[in-house]
């Protein structure tokens, strides 16, 4: 039953993304063309909120609900961070969706974006297949 909590957090996150219009193709075009503050406002409030809460959690030495020490996320560098992200940026501009919003776009009623999801799965699989031939 513990797993249901992650469905609930997902529902919460999905509602926030959708009501915040962060899954909207229109809003992404507006952002990439620097024609509105809306999406930038979301990023520049989300990141400090996360950073400050993580900092306070570490200061207070909080533990997880199960009593484990909290592990801070570590993101090592590799060249894929640049190459992969640029390719992802192209796809983001086309679909108006990063991976999270793809799921929410389908849920919001644009059922055709199931195609976007299937293509993203295909892309992920193909990366796995070609990984050994690509620069890391």
């Amino acid at each position: 039953m513990k797993s249901i909590q992650y469905v609930l957090v997902g529902i919460f996150f999905g509602i926030v993304l959708t009501k915040g219009e962060a899954i909207s193709w229109y809003r992404m075009q507006e952002m990439f063309r620097f024609e509105s503050f809306h999406m930038f406002g979301i990023f520049i409030t989300a990141i400090p909120t996360g950073a400050i809460l993580l900092f306070l959690m570490r200061k207070a030495k909080l533990k997880t609900l199960e009593g484990e020490p909290i592990e801070m996320p570590v993101k090592p560098y590799h060249h894929g961070v640049v190459i992969g992200s640029i390719l992802f940026g192209f796809g983001w501009a086309l679909t108006g969706a990063c991976p999270g919003p793809i799921y929410a776009q389908i849920g919001s009623g644009f059922l055709v974006t199931i195609v976007t999801l299937l293509s993203a799965l295909m892309g992920t699989w193909c990366y796995g297949y070609f990984q050994k031939y690509l620069p890391d």
Binding site: Y6, S36, P73, K75, P99, G123, Y127, G128
Partner: protein, 186 residues
């Protein structure tokens, strides 16, 4: 009761998105990251002896439950509580899009581009099939997306995530400026 259908301003949505990072850590040391779900689905359905997909994906099943929630949340936010009015886009964006015949109507996506009919056209194929492929390929290559690098990684002050965020924003900006207009004109 009209307020319930109104879109949320950035200063409400942004902090709530940021707060999801510590929430998941507190619940069970879970790290926000949504492109990982695509990897788990590949590992579950078609691992094909590929090393990237050879791991115990069931240990990461919380991530799949999370995206089930995203789907339901999208339904609640985008359908049940749908904003009855068109998105309040800037006038510049509206003019730009209408020059390609894309009208501002209620809904989060332009149906001129995203529909079953357009899927069969070259334009729709590029937008959904090629676009989706690049999202899946690129995020796995980068080992993270807007949530894993952009929100979680930057919240944890990880410099490689800053490189990733600059790269996917850069990619999106350049693509929107130089290539997308030619696709929209098709």
């Amino acid at each position: 009761m009209n307020w319930i259908f109104e879109p949320w301003p950035w200063y409400v949505a942004g902090p709530l998105i940021g707060a999801t990072v510590p929430l998941l850590l507190l619940l069970g040391n879970k790290k926000l990251g949504i492109s990982s779900s695509l990897r788990h689905v590949c590992a579950a359905l078609l691992p094909a002896n590929i090393s990237l997909f050879k791991y115990d994906w069931k240990k990461e099943s919380w991530n799949l439950l999370f995206v089930v929630g995203l789907f339901i949340g999208g339904y609640i936010g985008g359908s049940v509580l749908a904003n009855p009015n068109p998105i309040a886009l800037s006038e510049n964006t509206q003019n730009y899009l209408s020059s390609f015949g894309i009208q501002s109507v209620p809904g989060l996506m332009p149906s001129e581009l995203f529909s079953w009919e357009t899927l069969l056209s070259f334009k729709g194929f590029l937008m959904m099939v090629v676009g989706g492929f690049l999202v899946g390929f690129g995020t796995r290559y980068a080992r993270g997306c807007t949530s894993g690098h952009g929100i979680l990684g930057l919240s944890a002050l990880q410099w490689p995530s800053l490189v990733a965020t600059a790269s996917f924003f850069g990619g999106g900006i350049l693509f929107s400026k130089f290539i997308l207009p030619h696709i929209l004109a098709l």
